[in-house]
Amino acid sequence: MTLQQQIIHSHSFENGLVLIGQSMPWLESAAFSFQVPAGCRYDPADQIGIANFVCEMVQRGAGNMDSRQYIETLEGLGVDYSSSASVYGTHYSGASCSGQLHDALSVFADVIRRPHFPQEQLEDGRLVCYQEIAAIEDDLPQRTLIELRNRYYGQPDGRDCHGTAASVGSIQQTDLKDFYDRNYRPNGMILGVAGKIDWPALKEHVGNLFADWPTKPETVPGVLAAEHGTCHLPFDSQQTHIAIAYPGVCYSDPDYYKQAGSVSVLSGGMSSRLFSEVREKRGLCYSVFASNHSVFDRGCVVCYCGTSAERAQESLDVIIEQLIDLKLGITEDELRRLKVQVRSDLIMQQESCRARAGSITGDWFHFGRVRTLDEINSNISALTVSEINRFLEQNPPQKFDLVTLGSQPLEKKNDGISSTPTK
């Protein structure tokens, strides 16, 4: 089983909007993913949460639809849709049978270009934002990871898009419109479409929907320094939640594949080092993982483990030991398993237009082009143990930021800087 030859179409409209299409003619469905350059990094410092609030409000009536007609139209088209604000963008995505694709895009053109911001629904929309903030309070792993990212990247890239009840509470109707007017624009916007598509017809349709939208100047957010080190959030819980970050490279860095390879050795499968050492051999936890995290120009590796309070210190010690030991290098067997896993994951992506629509949009944002599955596979296949190990020698996991949430703080006994390897 091989990767299909992929044909990726792209078109940049004069106003800056980029449309990318991947034809997957073996499917009956099609999916789309809009990234509007209106992420929470552009929230004014006293109005954090406004990008998310705007995302809620633009879906409460747009074009010829009121909020009920909007939902009913999408349901009538059988579109499975979602929306969210992230650090860099606000995302509107969906999937449906391919025959409904153009109509679904028309609905979102109204949402993105012609929202009503109905005054009478302002407080309902604000309540929805409050509810989302409250939900995070009860999600302890999420709270721990949010605090970690906030400290590691600083403001605005480390921020959580939901803001606080106080910041959301202070936002006025005019603020929402101001944010929308400044940040919803065609330049910087990406639309990825994948599935059973007709590219010329799609390009024409998207042109009709967006080509006459004038460009706007880009906004530049203020930047605040990050806070590194250790932080404990006291909480009366059964488990202690441990989140660790160490410096890494971002997605578009030429060394990214090497870092991703090393993280996969830590956490890529059931034989990976963290799963094996923390869970399988010692039974310290149910959930432990490491993953790459990246904003546009910076990156890190994030680890998480949830474990009962009395075993939390041991869990942290074992995880840190595994992270530090990574600089001793990975093995040929580990790399071989990683390569099979990547090939399998990429081939599986061909089953899902939704996965591809999201990936091609993300690729364009980070790389300014789309990597074909074949290209990713070739890059991974070409990796050697010696180059990954050289990368790890030069960039050993160290300077660990630690956030814990639970009944007791933990002690970070080793920062990986002057230690002797443990094996």
Binding site: M1, L27, E28, S29, S67, R68, I71, E72, L74, E75, G76, L77, G78, V79, D80, Y81, C97, Q100, D124, G125, R126, V128, C129, Y130, Q131, A134, A135, D138, D236, S237, Q238, Q239, G268, G269, M270, S271, F275, S276, R279, E280, K281, R282, G283, L284, C285, Y286, G306, S308, R336, R337, V340, Q341, R343, S344, D345, I347, M348, Q350, E351, S352
Partner: protein, 412 residues
């Protein structure tokens, strides 16, 4: 797309939906063994056994099992429920025989004592993890209350107490009582060489000795009531309700799922407009769950403690109106469109097809293709949906409220 089946002489069922155009192959062992089959003293054994299956066999250590799963680049996992334990893996078609070989070996685990004790700690961590997550053990409590003495009310994970006291000997006995070939199906979907698969299974499982497996599937005597589970550290209040619904064998189940979608789907439903659009709840919805000879509808709301009492009243009013007036043709049409689209999207995933093939066997139903299921939904009438709404009133329920409020009262 071709549906094929075969049965080994010892009773093991083999099922496949073969699609030579698929990119992947997905396989699963479906075992009729779940918390429903447990006695109280071995609560959680089905789920614990699911973990132990990955801990090795006479031919492989736990480490070798994990290595081999990764060597094939597989996406594999397992899950345990009230009535089933499912071990599943998706791989590239070139790994078919190797994966069938590994999975068949796993189904005859060693259950070694040292592994048993280490894994027990992982299970206890898993139970504690869920105790920290909303609704903080509320799901287990309401199932126990709703089903009363019936075995469907037993927790899938068990408790820290039952798992701590479980012995490997009890697990071995349980294994022999449930993992007989006649109680197991091997289901596959995607790019599958069916004959090769049958040959491999015959070779690997042909000598599994069948034994008599018993299962009681009597109907529960559903309980009603209103309970509170105090949880002072919780920020939000969680409202859970269980009411009776059609069983897995019932011909009403399709109409009931349509009714539940109209009442409580995550967008565009009655509950969506009442609770989510208005922002009076963080999440709210309803879902159908079907078991052998039993069924239920779970209704849930997560909201601020301050609005919980008001939301209980809103929910009751909504349910009364739903019950008395039924649904409209427009609601039915929209729900059907949504379901039809969902069927197309999920049918494109090989793994989801494998689950559909195996899940139909688990409840002793004859296999239906994607288009046959789509046709059933398309043929559902307004009367059928309104009849099922009348037959299963949502106000006859067990309600559990979890969170900081301890003074909430049932709605009048």
């Amino acid at each position: 797309m071709e549906y094929r089946q075969h049965q080994l002489s010892n009773g093991l069922t083999i099922l496949a939906e073969c699609n030579p155009r698929a990119y992947m192959s997905a396989f699963g062992f479906f075992v009729k063994a779940g918390s429903r089959d447990e006695t109280l003293d071995i609560g959680g054994v089905s789920h614990f056994l699911e973990h132990m299956v990955f801990k090795g066999t006479p031919n492989r250590s736990a480490e070798q099992v994990n290595l081999e799963l990764d060597e094939m680049g597989s996406s594999s996992n397992a899950r345990t429920g009230e009535e089933s334990t499912i071990y599943h893996a998706a791989v590239l078609p070139e790994f078919q025989s190797q994966m069938v070989g590994l999975m068949t070996d796993l189904m005859r685990p060693s259950l070694r004592e040292a592994d048993f004790e280490t894994e027990k700690k992982v299970i206890i961590e898993e139970i504690m993890m869920y105790q920290d997550q909303p609704p903080y053990g509320g799901h287990e409590q309401i199932m126990a209350s709703f089903f009363g003495e019936h075995s469907l009310g037993q927790s899938v994970l068990g408790t820290v107490d039952t798992v701590t006291h479980l012995t490997s000997c009890q697990m071995r006995d349980y294994f022999h009582s449930r993992y007989s070939p006649g109680n197991i199906a091997f289901a596959a979907a995607g790019n599958v060489d069916f004959q090769q698969m049958v040959d491999d299974l015959e070779r690997a499982c042909g000598d599994w000795q069948p034994s008599q497996v018993n299962r009681t599937i009597e109907r529960a005597n559903y309980q009603t009531g209103f309970e509170c589970l105090p949880k002072s550290a919780s920020h939000q209040q969680y409202i859970l309700q269980l009411s009776p619904g059609p069983s897995a064998e019932s011909s009403e189940r399709y109409a009931s799922r349509v009714a539940t979608a109209i009442l409580g789907d995550d967008s565009g439903s009655r509950m969506y407009w009442e609770f989510l659009d208005s922002g009076v709840a963080e999440s709210a919805g309803a879902g159908s769950y079907e078991y052998l000879n039993n069924g239920l509808v779970l209704t849930y709301i997560c909201c601020s403690p301050d609005s919980a009492q008001d939301n209980l009243a809103r929910l009751s009013q909504l349910q009364d109106q739903f019950q008395e007036q039924g649904i409209t043709q427009k609601e039915l049409d929209l729900a059907k469109r949504k379901i039809a689209s969902h069927i197309v999207l999920s049918s494109e995933r090989t793994e989801s097809r494998m689950f559909s093939v195996g899940a139909q066997w688990l409840v002793d139903q004859p296999f239906k293709t994607v288009s046959e299921i789509a046709k059933i939904y398309d043929s559902i009438t307004l009367d059928q949906v309104n009849d099922v709404i009348r037959s299963y009133p949502k106000r006859t329920n067990t309600t559990l409220v979890v969170g900081p409020r301890t003074d909430l009262q049932p709605a009048p």
